[in-house]
């Protein structure tokens, strides 16, 4: 089967800095993959390249076998890629319901039903008519996840979904991700908390200085000497 995402020899430079240095990997459909690496390793840059926010200087990105390199962000989004940001980027001066409706596609009534389902999923149905700016940080994170899910993407990129929220909410969030994964959604998760990665991802890809330094199932990665050195300075 075609991988849902193929990164093929991608290079991205910012001036002299190699943000991504000939990076290649495949993501199989239906998996949860952790993307790890120290600050500045190129994780967010990679997300930006996949979603079309940035264009690679070299290399190709394929989605379900089709090349998407050079496509506009909205085109890539419409092909089924959803993405959250490290900083929460919802629309604060809209109500929660408007935040979802604005990105929905199709008939008003079906969109409304879908929005309500998503609110139940993230337990925000009571607050649907509040302004997004009135939510707590954790709730805003949940809203941004619901918003990303609204157009029903197949591949979902999450940039530090667990950062800055309390452990209970963190567990709920991860449980939600597993449930969606069982429904067939593919996830790539950037996370600094190694516990989150090890407990919740099947595979992991490690980046450092824009290069892929390790890749494999989490249990293998965990024993990788070179990686541990990068992470824990051994």
């Amino acid at each position: 089967m075609e991988p849902i995402l193929r990164i093929d020899d991608v290079v991205k430079k910012f001036g002299e800095v190699m943000a991504l240095d000939h990076c290649s990997f495949d993501i199989e459909a239906g998996t949860i993959t952790g993307l790890i690496g120290p600050n500045g390793a190129g994780k967010t840059t990679l997300f930006n390249l996949i979603t079309g926010v940035l264009q690679p200087d070299q290399g190709h990105v394929y989605l379900g076998g089709e090349e998407i390199t050079g496509k506009k962000p909205y085109e890539i989004a419409r092909r089924g890629v959803g993405r959250t940001y490290q900083i929460i980027r919802i629309f604060p001066k809209m109500t929660l319901l408007e935040n979802l409706m604005v990105v929905g596609k199709g008939k008003e009534k079906r969109m409304m039903e879908r929005a309500m389902d998503l609110f139940r999923l993230v337990r925000l149905e009571e607050k649907r008519n509040d302004y997004a700016s009135d939510l707590s940080f954790g709730q805003q994170k949940l809203l941004s996840l619901a918003q990303v899910l609204m157009p029903d993407p197949q591949l979902i990129l999450l940039d530090e979904p667990a950062a800055g929220i309390n452990p209970t909410l963190q567990n709920e969030l991860m449980a939600l991700i597993h449930r969606l994964n069982e429904d067939g959604k593919t996830f790539i998760i950037v996370e600094h908390d190694m516990n989150v990665i090890m407990n919740h991802c099947q595979n992991a890809i490690a980046l450092n200085y824009g290069q892929k330094i390790a890749e494999g199932s989490c249990s293998v990665i965990q024993r990788d000497e070179r990686l541990l050195e990068h992470y824990f300075g051994r």
Partner: protein, 310 residues
């Protein structure tokens, strides 16, 4: 509630339609100005209030459409009824191209580029190269042969249509997408919103309606010249009116345009020498204490519901 609102609007409209039958020319003229600036401010708000792209080139819409229609009337003896929409359509079409180029520039740079476009066009229309077409800097005096009441009813109709359109757009999904662009354009884009397309549509609609009001404006003045048509005042006044009433609200610009025109008139008549100073003081007070405008303030205080339909 709905019936009461509908009835109030019907009564207000009936009153406004009947104005020429009993009011003096002075009052009709004053209302014409209120209505022209209502369309300017609402048209500005339709694009800038929703998308957050501050358009400092409103006078460009006004001037281009004004010139096209005025020249059609003056040099080609067109009927005003045909010349006005042609001017506005032309402006709308050119705006698609302008939007395509300039709407990828964000923030203050977009604002500056629109000022530059307006100033550049003003210069261009006054040069000898375009004089055969535009009559250069000496301007174009003309008479369209339209009676004051007919002009009044025309602009009243236009203002009414503009407001209905704003009302529809502000509470539509298209309107929400424009607000999403204002809130976070890149996030909107990665959520699948074709931001460039939506921005260009809103920009073009704004150009068309503001342009149409511009055409009526210069027919009303019976005169057009580059300094007058592309005057920065024609950009700033509607923006201040929209700020005054409430940016991003449907009826804020109407309230702004109405109050502003009347205050302007009273101050001008009563305190000619102090008028600018007093006006400036009022403006500063408004921006300091009501930055969200009158309507925005009333929504925040709960005097009015926080609805996008207001």
């Amino acid at each position: 509630m709905k019936i009461r609102v509908g009835l109030s609007i019907a009564i207000l409209m009936a009153f406004l339609i009947s104005v020429p039958f009993f009011a003096t020319d002075y009052w009709i003229t004053l209302l014409i100005l209120v209505l022209i600036f209502t369309v300017y401010a609402s048209g500005w708000n339709l694009f800038s209030g929703l998308t957050g792209y501050t358009n400092f080139g409103l006078a460009w819409f006004i001037g281009v459409s004004g010139y096209v229609s005025s020249l059609l009337i003056a040099d080609y003896n067109w009927l005003w009824l045909l010349a006005w929409p042609i001017g506005a359509l032309f402006t709308g079409l050119v705006s698609i191209g302008v939007g395509y180029i300039l709407l990828r520039i964000k923030g203050v740079y977009f604002a500056i580029s629109m000022v530059a476009l307006t100033e550049g066009t003003r210069e261009l229309f006054g040069t000898e190269y375009l004089t055969p077409l535009t009559h250069g800097g000496k301007g174009v005096p003309f008479v369209a042969g339209i009676r004051l009441p007919t002009l009044y009813w025309s602009i009243l109709l236009l203002a009414f249509i503009t407001l209905i359109l704003c009302y529809k757009i502000f509470s539509s999904k298209f309107g929400l997408r424009l607000i999403a662009i204002r809130e976070d354009e890149q996030a909107a884009e990665t959520l699948g919103i074709h931001t460039t397309k939506d921005k260009i549509i809103a920009f073009t609609l704004s150009a068309f309606f503001v342009g149409l009001a511009g055409s009526i404006h210069f027919t009303y003045q019976n005169y057009i010249d580059p300094t007058f048509a592309f005057n920065i005042q024609l950009t700033l006044t509607p923006i201040v009116m929209a700020l005054f009433g409430g940016v991003g609200t449907v009826f804020g610009p109407v309230i702004g345009a109405t109050l502003f025109t009347f205050i302007h008139e009273i101050l001008w008549a009563e305190l000619t020498l102090l008028y600018m100073a007093i006006f400036g003081a009022i403006l500063m007070g408004l921006i300091l204490f009501f930055p969200q405008g009158l309507l925005g303030w009333m929504k925040e205080k709960g005097i009015l519901p926080r609805s996008r339909k207001l």
